[in-house]
Symmetry: C2
Subunit: 119 residues, 2 copies
Amino acid sequence: MKKEIILTQECNQEIRAISDTMEVLSGKWKIQIIATLLIHGKMRFMELLRTTNGIGAKKLSKDLEELEMNKLITRTVMNTKPITVEYEITPYGRKMEHLINKITEWGLKHREHMFKENN
Amino acid sequence: MKKEIILTQECNQEIRAISDTMEVLSGKWKIQIIATLLIHGKMRFMELLRTTNGIGAKKLSKDLEELEMNKLITRTVMNTKPITVEYEITPYGRKMEHLINKITEWGLKHREHMFKENN
DNA sequence: CAGGATCCGTGACGATACTG
DNA sequence: CAGTATCGTCACGGATCCTG
């Protein structure tokens, strides 16, 4: 099974940067997971599964793995019985908070804008 | 063929806002197209096709259509022979410039960060 | 030129069952 | 509990051909 960090290899610097970011963030769930962890702090797998409405275990597992590869979260296996695992935002991941806020902000304005023009 | 603006219908306000934004932006190409149009101003279909490296005509056409639905760009058919079409960012779309800058910025830092830790 | 129609392969994702 | 393995579906996106 390959575990490589995906960094885009394309011509233009700016386009690469954009692609890199989108590679990390895109999909329905990644940002939601980050946002949830930013709010709640440490969380276990099942908590995330319940909180992130609509996601399946397989997808959650995969997304968490990718987020860990990108150093945005940490994964800690506790030696309890039965096993529990805790996920937590890294300081580096926390730096994404501002970007997520911008994204949220834009989404709110966009919804307004769409309603205004269409009705 | 349905042409509806997709606005997410989920529980939480913040999550909805995030999903709305990602709905508009996600995929490899949308932001690239916007960025390109921000730089070059008016562009024709074929210009965009050449400039946006790797995209196919079908996908470009579809993405442009979606961007137009979201009022980020305008599509103008010129009555020339043969027909030409011009795409251009709207003032509203131009408001996304700041967000795109943030995304680009984060991508650059992320690339640095990944190299630092892995080598 | 600007795309639509069609065909088709691949991979993403859900559901279910199973393991340490 | 925290996943992995397996199966099956389906929509995305590429390639090609066609049209006003």
